[in-house]
């Protein structure tokens, strides 16, 4: 906890980014209970209210179906955060064990086999593999998460492997080996605790890009499907009326950009924080 506050104290931008994300997340949880337009979340339409400009009663205006854009935008954050954490969690879950096993047995056939398989996934351009996977599995939020995670896990495997190779040659691992420690013991006690920081940094940056990629998939119709709400989907729906009713596309877009930027700031902040901590050592 102390480390977390030190991280916030390090730079104002870290504090702003964390506060923004926490605020958006809390609002997305509370909006179904607090918003007078909570029915809009479930696909209700009110054509008598369509295309209203932002006002006191509709802070971000209304869309072509008369739904409150503020309620939809804030609620859409929930799907985006699910994607962000889901993708990072799944990528770490697949990539880290692969990388650690390859790293501790570097130079062996196991390492060679595992890394060539991950290289195979890297051979696809970053957006193509999620498109193929979501097309095959069918468009839904969970399939978007699976699709992106399968495309991204090789990066976590690579980070873990390279760190494992460095840590494996350290004196403390050598001592542990000389005492008869197994590979599992070395991974669990020595390598994994020392790569957690790198994973946090990579995860925070990737969380932002995961939101962006998911929004991209929703935009081309392969992501979240109505009546679910997601920023990419909201932007896609408002695409045709952007010139007349700019607010319907602008606010979800703004939240998307701010969230991605916030995750990036946190990632950069964590890198700086851990490097400073390391320098002091």
């Amino acid at each position: 906890m102390k480390s977390f506050f030190n991280f916030l104290y390090l730079k104002k931008s870290n504090l702003i980014a964390v506060v923004f994300l926490v605020l958006v997340f809390c609002l997305s949880v509370l909006v179904p209970f607090l918003s007078p337009y909570s029915d809009d979340i479930h696909g209700a339409v009110f054509f008598e209210n369509k295309n209203h400009l932002p006002s006191i009663s509709h802070w971000f205006g209304t869309d072509s179906a008369g739904r409150d854009v503020f309620t939809l935008t804030v609620y859409g954050a929930m799907s985006s955060f699910k994607v962000a954490f889901g993708v990072v969690f799944l990528s770490v879950l697949i990539g880290v064990p692969v990388g650690l096993i390859a790293g501790v047995s570097s130079g062996s056939k196991t390492d060679e086999a595992l890394m060539r398989i991950t290289d195979g996934f890297l051979a696809f351009p970053p957006i193509v593999l999620p498109i193929i996977i979501t097309t095959v599995l069918g468009p839904s939020l969970n399939n978007v998460i699976i699709g992106i995670a399968i495309s991204w896990f090789p990066w976590y495997a690579r980070i873990s492997r390279s760190q494992a190779i460095i840590i494996k040659s350290s004196d403390y691992v050598m001592i542990s080996k000389s005492l008869g420690a197994s590979k599992f013991h070395i991974i669990k006690n020595h390598i994994f605790p020392n790569i957690v920081n790198s994973l946090f940094i990579q995860g925070s940056i990737d969380a932002g890009y995961a939101i962006l990629t998911a929004a991209g998939l929703s935009f081309i119709g392969l992501g979240v499907q109505p009546p679910d709400v997601e920023w990419g989907l909201l932007i896609n729906n408002a695409r045709s009326q952007f010139l007349n009713n700019w607010w319907v596309m602008f606010f979800p877009g703004l939240f998307l950009v701010l969230s991605v930027v916030s995750f990036n700031i946190i990632g950069d902040g964590l890198r700086e924080y851990y490097n400073r901590k390391w320098d002091r050592i």
Binding site: I166, S169, S170, D171, Y172, M174, I175, S176, K177, S178, L179, G180, A181, H185, N189, H190, P193, N194, D279, R280, I281
Partner: protein, 519 residues
């Protein structure tokens, strides 16, 4: 009178954080003259390295507050220290492994610096690097250029750093404990080389070292620093003959008062405990074979302290790893003899072996608290109860003088000497029958070195275990080792009891080693 090259005017450096504003340097004023070698001596934590970093402009302004003025007399336009670094002043650090980028070959790192400094093209840089590598005895230069830092020994890495620092033709070279990792012979070679370069280019040197022999032999003047204050600066002759400050007197007296002859133990021959037969090891580095050990034959006798001495790159660390069986030898066999005289092959890591490495920080996992570090060897032997671990930890902590409050600290929260005590405690916690000490004191300053050596002596007398003490420093073995083996380029060129080696060395290499300490 020589002209001044650098003047420090009333330099003070304070910590800049809310918890502490402790003064690290206190009104330091110092002149460095053209082409002189100025020695800087002082205890650990006296501010030597911070002073060096301040001169080069490497202290972080967010963490330290600096006051005072640094004047570089060569060029008035270069008063700003950040422009001096790499142009007029270069620095060589204590730990070469931390100074080199682990993911770039040393040749590439060297080339980047030459390109920045001189704007040379790749071919010209390569030529210059080859020439420099030859000068610092890194041969074959082509092979060394392609190597990554982890493929070099500590000494070789430091030679790369010396080559890089000198290649930019600095006016002032700041050398912070640069020969700590090198053996006695090489120390002088490297310093002779640095001296010849210094004379040629009229480079001034600020030499920071805890090795007073070195300081005495090479420096024109000496400054003594204590708690961030320069307490005495004078010519070397005057400092050693007639030190003014009480602290200087004490430091010098301590060093030259050791009566080596009295400290020698008598050798007690006993049964072999470990038999090393025809061990060879070859590493493949970029397609070329490097012979690390060549048919090493050695008996380690029961309950003796065997000193193994050798220069950097002589195969000491490889021998340790093979003894621990964390790497396998290409040829030969190691046998362990039990109490009944039966010899069994040693092919797997043995939990009755303890080891202490050179770098106390590198040998402790930075993410583990001291308690967990001490507990690990026990956990690996199946002892998991907290009470049992604590009981055993208490015993070794008492023996190694580790305070109870350290148990819940992380390694970076301890000093170098304290960390090395923890390493020793970890090695002892399983009550090993065999202890390997690989350069246990070489990264520590002279006072801490002595304390650690005293501790090892105490352990040797109390625990009655077999110890192998590996070092590049013959002096540290006096009073500790019963026998000494000399390792040179992967071969044991001489072995015998300590008295024989010291008073009747057979090989030229050993004679040189002995002469450096008798000086």
């Amino acid at each position: 009178m020589k002209s001044k090259i650098l003047t420090l005017n009333d330099i003070s450096v304070k910590l800049n954080n809310k918890k502490s504003q402790a003064k690290i340097l206190d009104s330091v004023s110092l002149d460095i003259y053209k082409s002189e070698i100025l020695g800087l001596i002082g205890k650990t934590g006296s501010g030597k390295s911070i002073l060096a970093k301040t001169i080069v402009g490497l202290i972080n302004s967010k963490e330290f507050k600096k006051r005072g003025e640094i004047l570089f007399h060569e060029d008035d336009n270069l008063k700003d220290k950040t422009t001096l670094r790499g142009l007029q002043v270069s620095m060589i650090f204590q730990e070469p492994s931390k100074s080199l980028n682990p993911v770039q070959s040393v040749g590439k790192q060297f080339r980047i610096i030459l390109k920045k400094k001189f704007g040379y093209n790749k071919g010209r840089c390569q030529k210059m690097i080859k020439a420099w590598f030859k000068k610092v005895h890194l041969r074959p230069a082509d092979s060394f250029m392609q190597r990554y830092p982890h493929q070099l020994s500590g000494g070789q890495m430091q030679r790369v750093m010396i080559a890089i620092a000198m290649a930019i033709r600095p006016k002032l070279l700041v050398a912070d404990e640069i020969t700590t990792a090198l053996d006695a012979n090489l120390k002088n070679d490297i310093f002779d080389l640095v001296l010849s370069l210094v004379e040629e280019s009229k480079t001034a040197v600020l030499l920071i070292s805890h090795d007073l022999h070195l300081i005495k032999s090479y420096c024109d003047r000496i400054s003594v620093i204590k708690k961030g204050r320069i307490i005495e600066t004078d010519k070397t002759k005057n400092i050693f003959k007639n030190p003014r400050a009480w602290y200087t007197k004490k430091t010098i007296k301590k060093l030259f008062n050791v009566d080596n002859k009295k400290a020698l133990p008598k050798s007690k021959l006993s049964e072999p405990f470990i038999i090393i037969k025809n061990i060879s090891k070859i590493y493949n580095v970029f397609g070329s074979s490097v012979l690390a050990l060549k048919k090493v034959n050695l008996n380690i006798l029961n309950k003796e302290v065997l000193g193994i001495i050798g220069q950097s790159g002589s195969g000491k660390s490889t021998l340790v790893k093979i003894l621990l069986q964390v790497i396998r030898q290409d040829e030969g066999v190691i046998k362990i003899v039990d109490g009944l005289g039966r010899a069994t092959k040693h092919e797997q890591p043995n939990r009755k072996f303890g080891v202490v490495f050179q770098d106390p920080l590198g040998s402790l996992n930075p993410k583990m608290k001291i308690f967990d570090i001490l507990a690990e060897p026990l956990v690996l032997r199946g002892i998991t109860s907290f009470d049992n671990i604590k009981q055993k930890a208490d015993i070794v902590m008492k023996q190694t003088d580790i305070k109870d409050s350290f148990l819940y600290r992380y390694p970076h929260q301890l000093s170098g000497g304290q960390r090395q005590r923890v390493s020793i405690a970890r090695a002892l916690i399983t009550e090993p029958s065999f202890l390997i000490l690989d350069e246990p004191t070489s990264s520590l300053d002279i006072q801490v070195q002595k304390r650690i050596l005293r501790l090892i002596k105490k352990i040797k007398e109390k625990n009655k275990i077999t110890v192998v003490l590996i070092s590049h420093d013959l002096e540290s073995m006096i009073g500790l080792a019963d026998r000494i083996a000399v390792l040179y380029k992967g071969e044991i060129i001489e072995q015998g009891n300590t008295n024989e080696i010291l008073y009747n060395p057979n090989t030229q290499y050993t004679k040189n080693l002995v002469s450096t300490i008798s000086n």
